[in-house]
Amino acid sequence: MSNSMVGPKALRFLNILLIVLFCLAIILPFLHVLAISFNSGVDAQKGGIGFWPREWSFENYTEVFKQDNLLNGLFISIFRTVVGTVIGVALMSMAAYAMTIKTLPGRKQITFFVFFTMLFSGGTVPYYLVLTELNLTNTIWVFIIPSLYSVTNILLLRTSFNQLPFSVIEAARIDGCSEFKIFRSIVIPMSKPVLATISLFTAVGHWNDWYYGSFFVRDASLKPLATLLQEMLTRQAALSDILLRNSGSMAYSQLDKITVTSESLQMATIIVVMIPMVLIYPFIQKYFVKGITVGSIKE
């Protein structure tokens, strides 16, 4: 960082100020939701809560963990994230490494076979019918198996493996090291940044995905947390619509009796969905910047 774009001090300050304002626009909404989630639900309905709870209450969270379907959804989410990421990253790095072997007969054709799926696909309905025909729909494996590989991740891994010092690998080869051992004990340990990046992408993809849970499974017991949150959002919209139309009716006065509202429960669920992300983020973020820029700049 030593280029000489030196400008007047005021301009530089204004620049930092603008970026800081944008960062505030990112953080403040989360603080707002966090404050509501720790506030009594009925009290929150009066509005006026900023970034700190007015009437502290942990009830929203105890309610989240009391509701069988939400707890179950949390387990489904954890299961698919852990299993899907571990198997997926292992399989993708093996495939990507094999694609970097220049002497491999058919390497170009194989790469094209994989890359082409990025440019064209069968679309939503045929994909769904294939999942049905494989009897994957409405099982937990629909979250794992169809998401094992991702073309962009394979390409990222391939580019990164390509940039490893060839001499080290060749030296091991001359020493009689088996190809799989080279992969396991040389290539993998040397590729930590990109592996951390791919793991993060895969894990976040699993954790955030609500689509498969919404359209490819029917059993409520199979729905991951993100899908349940999405259903809450939709139901919330429908519910508040009804309440607005006949406010003052029975439904509204009944809602008043419980301190947890569907709104405050939703805010607590949003926080539960976000927590793992926010917790691992600081540890992994130094890797991913390195990981994604390695493969993307064309020299």
């Binding site: 280029n3 000489s4 774009m5 620049n15 930092i16 970026i19 944008f22 960062c23 990112i26 953080i27 707002h32 509501i36 009066k46 509005g47 399989l91 093996m94 495939a95 094999a98 220049k102 002497t103 491999l104 007969p105 076979f113 994989v114 799926t117 440019l119 064209f120 696909s121 069968g122 679309g123 309905v125 045929p126 994909y127 769904y128 019918l129 590989y149 394979i154 060839f166 001499s167 060749e170 088996s178 190809e179 992969f183 993060l200 954790w207 995905d209 689509y211 949150l229 999405q230 919330q236 969905v273 976000m274 992300m277 983020y281 600081p282 973020q285 910047v289 820029t293 993307s296 700049i297």
Partner: protein
């Protein structure tokens, strides 16, 4: 330089070195046999794409067939171009195409300069620690699910109790508007939330490209009397143009699919006229409505158009700028 390796005290390129170790011409079979382990590593990958990508492509045949739940994909009767006619004869279809393209233009063209601008601004922050901290915050929303983002928007923009409405009320205005339901606000909200979620992440690549520019270029420009803006115009932007073009080609292929999650989750009865896109229409008619053939036909047209656009843009840019995807 990275292709050059020192071998026995002599500089050799990787290719030469490989030749050196494979002096005898092998038959294809022995060569393949030697690489057995790599085929084993690749096998699940190829099987995966065959099953989950190429099989659905074969399933596109459904666009010309009558789907029956007992006859499956292949068993139904041919119906020719019936579904395509049905799509083009429905005036609503053109509305969905129009909605899709408008949203795509917002996300591809209008949005394009913003991450570049953020990268330039971040590059101007000289304190590394401060810049690192600010960058980390700007990336964060990228990792947050659209479900959560739309949940946040619903809360902040809610009637009466939402932050925005309370602010309006405190200034004496009418705070009962549900902004998410306003048809006229749908596109601005799509754009702002997309910008909020993606700008930091998309700036990473531009930032890396800016940092990779040789500092002496700036020094030379400064000696020639170029001010800051001219330096950006004549040094920085040409320096990152290859990156901009590659990312742009990659994104153009998706012009007919404007991002399913965000649009679907932001849809409500209030904005139905502007928020139904090709993607959401396919899910509504196909997955939710069971009109498999019809939805497949729409998906087929969308896919082919995307492929053609990508190929054409790639041809043009490789001729004009010497940058291409393949």
């Amino acid at each position: 330089m990275e292709n050059v390796v020192v071998h026995n005290g002599v500089l050799k390129t990787k290719e030469e070195l490989e030749k050196h170790y494979n002096p005898v011409k092998e038959t294809l079979w022995t060569k393949m046999n030697k690489h057995k382990i790599f085929y084993i590593m690749l096998f699940p990958c190829l099987a995966f794409f065959l099953i989950f990508s190429y099989w659905p492509m074969a399933g596109l045949i459904l666009a010309f067939k009558q789907y029956g739940f007992n006859t499956g994909i292949l068993g139904g009767d041919w119906v020719g171009f019936k579904y395509f006619e049905q799509f083009f004869n429905d005036p609503r279809s053109w509305l969905y195409v129009k909605n899709t393209i408008i949203i795509s233009i917002l996300k591809l063209f209008v949005y394009l300069p913003f991450p570049i601008l953020l990268a330039l601004m971040l590059n101007d922050v000289k304190n590394n620690k401060l810049r690192g901290a600010l960058q980390s915050i700007t990336y964060l929303p990228y990792f947050i699910s659209w479900v959560v983002v739309v949940g946040l928007m619903n809360r902040i923009l809610a009637p009466n109790t939402g932050m925005i409405n309370q602010a309006i009320e405190s200034f004496g205005g009418d705070g009962s508007k549900f902004f998410m339901m306003e048809e006229g606000l749908f596109l601005p909200l799509v754009f702002i939330s997309y910008l909020w979620k993606s700008i930091g992440w998309d700036s990473i690549i531009y930032f890396a490209a800016i940092v990779a520019i040789v500092p002496t270029l700036y020094e030379a420009a400064a000696i020639d009397g170029a001010g800051k803006l001219r330096q950006i115009w004549h040094v920085t932007l040409p320096g990152i143009s290859a990156t901009i073009i590659i990312l742009f080609i990659l994104s153009l292929g998706s012009i007919l699919s404007s991002g399913f999650d965000q649009v679907y989750l932001m849809q409500n009865p209030g904005n139905a006229n502007v928020s139904e896109t090709i993607d959401t229409y396919i899910v509504r008619t196909g997955l939710q409505g069971g009109q498999f053939g019809y939805a497949t036909a729409i998906g087929l047209m969308q896919g082919i158009a995307g492929l053609i656009i990508t190929i054409i843009v790639n041809k043009i840019t490789s001729k004009k700028f010497g940058t291409s995807l393949w």
